[in-house]
Symmetry: C3
Subunit: 147 residues, 3 copies
Amino acid sequence: MDYSKGNIGRVFTVRIDTGEDLLRELEGIATKEEIKSAVFTLLGAVAKVNLVVGPKENAIPPETMWVNHTEPYEVIGVGNIFMEEGTPKIHLHTAAGRGDNVNVGCLRGESAAFMVLEVFIMEINGMEAMRAFDAAKGFAPISFGKN
Amino acid sequence: MDYSKGNIGRVFTVRIDTGEDLLRELEGIATKEEIKSAVFTLLGAVAKVNLVVGPKENAIPPETMWVNHTEPYEVIGVGNIFMEEGTPKIHLHTAAGRGDNVNVGCLRGESAAFMVLEVFIMEINGMEAMRAFDAAKGFAPISFGKN
Amino acid sequence: MDYSKGNIGRVFTVRIDTGEDLLRELEGIATKEEIKSAVFTLLGAVAKVNLVVGPKENAIPPETMWVNHTEPYEVIGVGNIFMEEGTPKIHLHTAAGRGDNVNVGCLRGESAAFMVLEVFIMEINGMEAMRAFDAAKGFAPISFGKN
């Protein structure tokens, strides 16, 4: 366990429209606005989404299981933005449902909004945090600078 | 895609008790406290809930699919408050589960808390945003003023 | 219904690593940092988790239904921290999924992170709130001081 303390900076209210790609839009805003550390929540729907819904086994690095939906799903999500090798990286988990079909997983790659996705990004100032890839773990954990 | 920048204002910690209606209580607080732009998260349980769990087809305006639960469901939710035609409008998506039955959808109409719903409303200041109904889209997207 | 107004204080970005216990780590941070009122969101995965997934009947105090997972599940969560009898108490609801198996419930007792859990704690200042056990209700609702 490790942690760092900061305070809330700017807050971005984002509307993503039908057909737009969620991660690409968020990366674009983060780049343009120079958002380096942030947490966000979202709600809305997607017409296309790819989710990692767990590792096949309880082993690290994990072999990932995927679901790929191409029909509209309602979603809620919790995510964050941190820098990795000089570019803003989005980490986003969502619960996605259509009727009685529901998944919870890590949203990656291409997606398309359906009607609307509403995202609320809260910048975190006053601390230093970034992601660095760890080959043994198979992902890039957040590490903290001094504060 | 469109977005606006602001900053966090007041934070409201809300406890909604058994039998109380979630959207009506939130609308009441928003009206009384003159909350015009806000994001919120919630956790708790409901004894009654109606959710839109997707459009029947991938078409806009959507024809909605509903689930209507009258047994207690555990919930988490992400929502927001913006003004539409002079009154505060709640947009709320929740993941709701009871045993192995789970739905994700847009909570609308009547509901009843079971034991407790705890809601954390964060006001967003320093930006101008409101909802305006768009007949072609079948809903009221957030639009932003200048800031 | 009752509520109180405050404002955001410190923000804690927390990384919980493989095998660590979620509630124990959060309680430790809350104690060390003297966090008395806070809301948090989280995302990540757990290798072990126990969730209350509803009451058996629509009755208060509730008789709880549980799921106990010992395989990795992807999660999102919304929770809070308030003082109860002098110690910080965590209330956390999560949506947890593995493939097509999904639950939503109140995370209690022991758990173990898988790879990582990322938690964002926002302290709420300027209000007085705490939990007090109510035997008739079977839980400890938040009550508010004057502000």
